[in-house]
């Protein structure tokens, strides 16, 4: 009896996966790859959505990215960085007036309408990130809502490269966060 009839070594043992499953797997992979380097920020900025648990916070951010910021069809899906929320919450955001990218320095000028929800001492966070390089940086000097200006030194790895910039605010005690604002794709 020809045993190959029952067992063919050349035949892949794994069944071909369905289109839907492959598409979801790719979405998950892309979302993870995009968000992973931002973990230190997301663990804090999504903490309320994660009910105080850092790992749940990351899960919520991942879920939001997969639902809102993926475009294209398998196998050409990609992350739309402009729709990614690296922070989420009810704190009122600010109005960005100008973004100036100089020699390894990024400056953002903004204005604010006073609302009962927002405080002038809310801290502003500016983040630059290149998913291709896998490197991110944030402002190291504290800036407040009332300052109208924030400055960040761009990491060396992002020099002469394209990167995304995001901005968000949080309460001084980090209990409330705003939704992040996408500032665009810039070159360092």
């Amino acid at each position: 009896m020809d045993i190959d009839f029952f067992y063919d070594r050349g035949k892949p043992k794994k069944k071909e996966q369905s289109y839907g499953r492959l598409a979801v797997q790719q979405r998950m992979r892309l979302a993870m790859a995009f968000l992973h380097p931002l973990r230190p920020i997301i663990a804090e900025s999504w903490l309320n959505q994660g009910k105080g648990n850092r790992s749940k916070a990351f899960g919520q951010a991942l879920k939001a990215l997969m639902q809102e910021a993926m475009e294209g069809h398998y196998p050409d899906q990609r992350v739309a960085a402009e729709r990614v929320r690296i922070s989420s919450g009810l704190l009122p955001a600010i109005h960005v007036e100008d973004v100036v990218c100089g020699d390894r320095v990024l400056e953002v000028y903004f204005s604010d309408e006073s609302t009962p929800m927002g405080s002038s001492t809310d801290e502003v966070v500016l983040v630059v990130y290149s998913p291709e390089v896998g490197v991110a940086g944030r402002n190291t000097e504290t800036s407040f809502r009332k300052d109208g200006h924030i400055r960040l030194r761009i990491p060396a790895q992002l020099q002469s490269r394209l990167f995304h910039a995001y901005l968000f605010l949080h309460h001084t005690k980090k209990k409330q966060y705003s939704k992040s604002v996408y500032l665009g794709q810039l070159e360092g």
């Binding site: 973990r39 896998g134 991110a136 940086g137 944030r138 190291t140 990491p155 060396a156 790895q157 020099q159």
Partner: protein
Amino acid sequence: MGTLKDGINGPFRGKAGSVIGSNWRKINYIKGLPRKTKRPASTDQLLERRKFALLNRFFDPLSGLLEIGFRQFTSRATGKNAAIRYNYDHAFLIDGSQVTLDYPALQFSHGSLFTAGDEQAHVDGDTLHITWDPETYGMGRSMDDVARMVIYEEIRETFYSGGRPLRYEGAEQFTNELLTLRPLKLHLWLFFVDRAGKQVSRTTYIPIAHPES
């Protein structure tokens, strides 16, 4: 003779008929007896064997460092195992049947810590000067991350390890008589480990500018 450890369905160690049971890193293995074959290896098989031997021999003296660099993968494998698996697909330059290592593509670590950026190195006399960006940019890096570096002289097939400076120091010097010898073909890799030794960065290959090769 094989002995059953956890009852009739449990793992066993030793030989039972034509199979051998064993245990390594809490993994229970069951292996068939080796079979000898007289059929000569195909060209592809020989190429794979050469690749495996080359990478295995190169990583041999670095097993301690690889345990640190691939620590997150070492629960069920050694650091060297993980390094070979990680590098195998992109670490070679293949020209017909000739296989060489693609040194700039080699990785001695993998993790979520950020690399330093702006890494540079040059030889001056018997000293190798290495510099990197010491800033932390607010996330993914700490001032007290420890820099681990691997220096390899390709012609003499010799490894050297530099000191263990901290990230904020931004520079390190390595002095050795070897650096005065010519010809000299140096390769340098740098990665960072956090203070707790739990997180590592990816490895950066630093091209070395030296007066003459």
